[in-house]
């Protein structure tokens, strides 16, 4: 690990000023990914700005009936929060599907969004990787890519974003709150992460010097049910091969609100707009769910060894939608 200086500011403005004054500095929250990447030689910031002393860890209801989750709120605390469990079960389940209890006790909301891909070539500093060393190439395309992307990848990068939490937030229409030298702005979670294109080194639309201060969720649609389901290589403590977050309302046998997002398939949480188009207003039947999933996954371009993800994601989506609809039909 490269030597670095360390500061622990108590005010958000001070943290942002510190960052601006030191090129290459990084904010540190839970550190569960950043410290690991520093050990691996993938990250080597000259300065760590510890943001755990900033007043950014609250989870509280908003005036609009939604929920604000501070950037340094721990994954375990958010997952166990009564309002999250009752109103946003997909978020609680997604958090609990991620990592281990020890990691969730340290990992934060902001850090979860900013975690890097677990593509083995990105994490191995001795290998080429366009995300880590732009222009060096992508060995994953022809190499080990069973866990990697089937949607939205490019010739330059086939990495997946590993977060479970972000998939649920995308389906819940959450927004990321950012603060930087130029002030504050919000970005929908579904637009916060980028597709790789020819700039796979940029995971998100965050600007240099901006700090995530929190995530805001709107009030859930009336009568909505949500869920998160994840398929992985072992029963627990593994990244998603594919996952689904869904939020649904059903009335008189027809679907009203429908939000669907896939994880483990792309460089970003994949909000399934084409599937949602099929779902809205359609009969709540298995046939509808299959058509919806197929409409979204028609765009899939599997690599040599990850074609299994397409039927896996389809079956996950169909089963989650079926389970949600059978629990939400207000006539039932």
């Amino acid at each position: 690990m490269k030597p670095f200086a360390y500061v622990r500011p108590e005010r958000t403005e001070e943290a942002i000023d510190r960052f601006a004054a030191q090129p290459g500095a990084r904010f540190l929250a839970g550190g569960t990914n950043l410290v690991d990447l520093m050990k691996l030689g993938v990250a080597g910031p000259p300065l760590l700005i510890d943001i755990n002393g900033l007043p950014l860890d609250a989870v509280e209801e908003t005036a609009a009936g939604g929920l604000h989750i501070g950037a340094t709120a721990r994954n375990s605390d958010v997952a166990a929060h009564p309002l999250v469990r009752v109103r946003y079960p997909a978020l609680s389940q997604a958090l609990l599907a991620g990592a281990s209890p020890q990691l969730r006790n340290a990992a934060t909301t902001g850090g979860n969004l900013l975690q890097r891909t677990r593509c083995p070539y990105f994490q191995d500093a001795s290998k080429p990787c366009n995300k880590r060393a732009p222009g060096s190439g992508c060995p994953a395309r022809e190499g080990v890519h069973r866990d990697l992307a089937v949607l939205g990848h490019s010739a330059h990068c086939v990495a997946t974003h590993p977060s479970d939490m972000a998939v649920a937030l995308a389906a819940l229409d959450a927004e990321v709150r950012l603060r930087g030298p130029a002030g504050e702005r919000t970005v929908p979670v579904a637009e916060f992460h980028r597709l790789p294109g020819d700039r796979p080194d940029r995971d998100t639309v965050i600007e240099d010097g901006e700090l995530i201060t929190g995530v805001t969720l709107p009030a859930p649609p009336s009568g909505a049910r949500g869920a998160y389901r994840k398929a992985r290589d072992r029963a627990s403590y593994a990244f998603a091969l594919a996952s689904v977050a869904a939020v649904l309302t059903v009335e008189d046998g027809r679907i009203g609100h429908a939000a669907l997002a896939f994880g483990g398939l792309a460089h970003k949480p994949w909000r399934a707009h084409a599937a949602e188009e099929v779902l809205r207003g359609a009969p709540a039947t298995a046939e509808t769910y299959r058509r919806a999933a197929d409409a979204e996954l028609a765009a899939a371009e599997p690599l040599r060894d990850n074609g299994f993800k397409v039927p896996l994601a389809r079956n996950l989506a169909v089963s989650v939608l079926h389970d949600l609809a059978s629990r939400t039909d207000t006539t039932g």
Partner: protein, 189 residues
Amino acid sequence: MEPVDRTAPAGETPEGAPEAVSTLTLRVNGTARTLTVDNRTTLLDALRDHLDLTGSKKGCDHGQCGACTVLLDGRRVNSCLLLAVVCAGASVTTVEGLSDGDRLHPVQEAFVARDALQCGYCTPGQICSAVALLHEAADGQPSYVTPPERSPDGPVSLTPEEIRERMSGNICRCGAYPNIVDAIEEAAR
């Protein structure tokens, strides 16, 4: 729990340029310990190499195996992924701090009674993790296998399925899992 002193580490030189070394105080197993460490030092290395507490083990050193699990302000964490400097002012409980003199912690007793280990390398982490697990379940914290429709109030009952899911962050290469689950069930009674 008594309030902890969150004194900022000495990270600044008189000129204002940050240094790569910090001095910090940790309350380890009830005793305040002050140490000066390179900022790169993890909590695990601080415990093992600076404080001679070698109960916490270095398995993978990447947060994947759980052998380094300790309690930080009462919560289980992977000490290999936490920088010591970030823990300044916090209370740390390691496996050495669980027993009451010669009297083992009930989780330690149960691991002995149920023969919940073979080589023993992962055991300190398993035990620290299990101690926290009991508190989390008693506190009503859900896991991925807790039925989502369950009310957020009241303790979660620790079925073998719950124990396996909640212990998934602790790997045992000897495969002592069945007896580990038995031991935790016994300690939960």
